[in-house]
Symmetry: C2
Subunit: 406 residues, 2 copies
């Protein structure tokens, strides 16, 4: 291994508001490091690596690098693929040809899995590679980290969107009575749960939140909606796209083969429509849905400043880990004790991360199954970085009636 | 009529990012006017008026009024109702009991219609009322005004959202190939058309825009999507919720009675899902949709500063019109000639407004039927008030291949 080692970086999975901040952290730290030679970017993750579709990140204009931190989506291009052992062997050949010994991959559990397997295969073929996973997933479902870069920003976006949609429903609820908002989140309810941060005062939206951690019970949901409707005259319901009934069947999942992703998971989406249908048919209430879809995960303007900062620092920590000779590890965020929120970056062995999913724990979910607990709100609130807009209501200064009573 | 006349104001139809700016303009101008006595707000529009559900807007805390201009949704509450002649007669009784002679109603064509009919009925019963409509509709479908307050802000929100969703699809299009974004807009394509402003460079999203002004032709759409997919590898399609086929049938409209609004129109929404289904089944491409729904119309953070300013000034002009003795009129926005965008407020007789819908004119729609023209972009661009985020791409500085060719 030369005094200076070449470094390669890729982005994987669903793009986010801050995954480019991580990339910026990696490029800037690597550029300043005396132990790093070439800085290479994979186009569309390992899919591009396998095709030797590689960018020279040292030859990027300074003004692009400067703005990368605030640019949403995945600047290198992303991918989601089923990586075979043959693919891994081929990747090692390509890494060897380019004399790359530092391998950084930004993504979720699927990406961590690729890094973990790559870390093992290079030992068999005696190629020195420092394979480091840098976390990124709006789903917030990686274990061994306090939270995942990307999640605080989607939570912040949704907190504001649900707060504003709640004001809208409050105003027009006399006509459009029930609003159902579908959030992302495949098999965990972290994203749906985060909408609780929309509330400033009692009675504000969202009134009901359903997470996939609890089997969806249609009759209980209808009873919940009826109760809120009686109390307030309007209802804002948040549902996770991944809701399942007690038999484990998704409320809505595409049955088309073309809609499966490369790792075989069916496409979700349509849960809100299904819930609207149930409410309209069974309760006779007019129900509409909002499904912000991918818009929720890439909004840069609403990105959490805490998230952006941590995403950048996760990239810095990844470069340092490789420089320190670490391999088969993931960068993780550790929350510091104390009243003021502070975090540090640590490393965890990938063997503890892969194949595991962190669902929303029971003490974050209300016993009623239709809300979160204050403990969850305390967990998430500092990650949003404050500055949510706060909206006033008109004071209830009534004009005395002259003609009618009641 | 007393030296000081009482004024009443209501908000109607779908809430927007700036309808409260209009309300603020009305309250602040009325409060400074020597000819205005009480300032009364109808809760939920004429629905509240009929129940004498009225707020004293002179007794509002200054800090609430101060922030009203930047608060989304409709602070007084909104409504959408089928107003009968009996309702109008009853309204006059209530207005008379409260000695109200200035009537301002903020809304779209339906609200203008109520003002127009009220303006006529008071003549029959010899009650002096100055009935003024103040325009508000994200649909931008009122005639006799350059545009409608609320529209520029929804266009701005969508321009940013589609730009960001476009970057997302660019990055992950290798997996999620087609993104369909459904916009609001009942029977006109103004909102869908506005997403063209998302583009900064050639080849950027949205790649295809379908408006209800053109009959939706499934085969042409499929040919369009195939072509863009061949050229770019990914496709972002914008569809208006109000798309209809050549027989005038909505691609997607709820058939449930409960989903009709009080004026009998079916609820739309689901067009994007229908288009995704067609693309997946006929082209075998993975297609997902985003339907931001009401979130697009009430976002305050993304509101156009031009729109907010004009919405405020429309309220000011409404109070002045009533003070000047005008009745049966609507405030309208007139665009001034010149390179720099400037507008003035004028008045138009309601007889020229009611019962008419302004669709997107033919010279704003590309001949291909899948896009807008540069003329439309020139019309809309100055209304957004600039400051859209601009995102860089990485430079295409390739690392030379060492193992593979092509």
């Amino acid at each position: 291994m030369a005094a200076r080692s070449n470094l390669i970086v890729g982005q994987s999975g669903g793009p986010t508001a801050v995954i480019n901040a991580t990339l910026a952290g990696i490029i800037e730290t690597a550029a300043q490091s005396e132990s790093v030679g070439e800085i290479i970017g994979m186009r569309h993750g390992v899919q591009g690596l396998l095709k030797e579709d590689l960018l020279d990140l040292r030859r990027q204009p300074p003004e692009v690098l400067l703005r990368l931190r605030d640019t949403p989506s995945a600047a290198l291009g992303s991918s989601r693929m089923n990586v075979t052992d043959e693919d891994l062997t081929r990747m090692v050949e390509i890494l060897r040809a380019h004399d790359v010994h530092h391998f950084l991959y930004i993504g979720g559990e699927g990406s961590a899995n690729v890094v973990h397997r790559l870390g093992h295969i290079v030992r068999d073929v005696r190629y020195e590679l420092r394979a480091v996973a840098v976390p990124k997933t709006i789903d917030n479902d990686l274990v061994e980290t306090d939270h995942c870069p990307g999640y605080p920003s989607v939570a912040r976006w949704l907190a504001v969107a649900v707060r504003e949609a709640g004001l809208d429903t409050e105003a027009i609820g006399v006509v459009d009575t029930v609003k159902v908002i579908e959030t992302m989140g495949r098999d965990t309810g972290w994203i749906a749960a985060g909408t609780a941060l929309a509330r400033e005062r009692e009675g504000e939206a969202p009134h009901l939140i359903y997470l996939p951690e609890r089997a969806f019970d249609q009759d209980r949901m209808l009873a919940d909606v009826s109760r809120v409707h009686r109390e307030l005259g309007h209802v804002v319901v948040v549902v996770s796209e991944g809701l399942k009934d007690s038999r484990g069947t998704y409320l809505s999942a595409s049955e088309r083969a073309v809609d499966r992703d490369p790792v075989g998971r069916p496409q979700l989406g349509g849960t809100a429509q299904a819930v609207c249908d149930i409410i309209a048919l069974r309760l006779g209430l007019k129900a509409r849905f909002d499904k912000p879809g991918t818009i929720q995960r890439v909004s840069s303007i609403m990105a959490s400043p805490v998230d952006r900062d941590e995403a950048y620092r996760a990239g810095v920590a990844g470069v340092k880990a490789a420089g320190d000779g670490q391999t088969d590890v993931m960068v993780a965020i550790k929350r510091q004790a104390g009243r003021e929120y502070r975090s540090t970056m640590t490393l965890v062995p990938l063997g503890q991360v892969v194949g595991r999913v962190r669902t929303v724990p029971p003490d974050y979910i209300a016993d009623t199954g239709n809300d979160v607990t204050p403990k969850f709100v305390s967990y998430l609130a500092p990650l949003l970085g404050g500055m949510l807009p706060s909206y006033p209501r008109l004071a209830d200064a009534r004009v005395p009636r002259k003609l009618t009573t009641n």
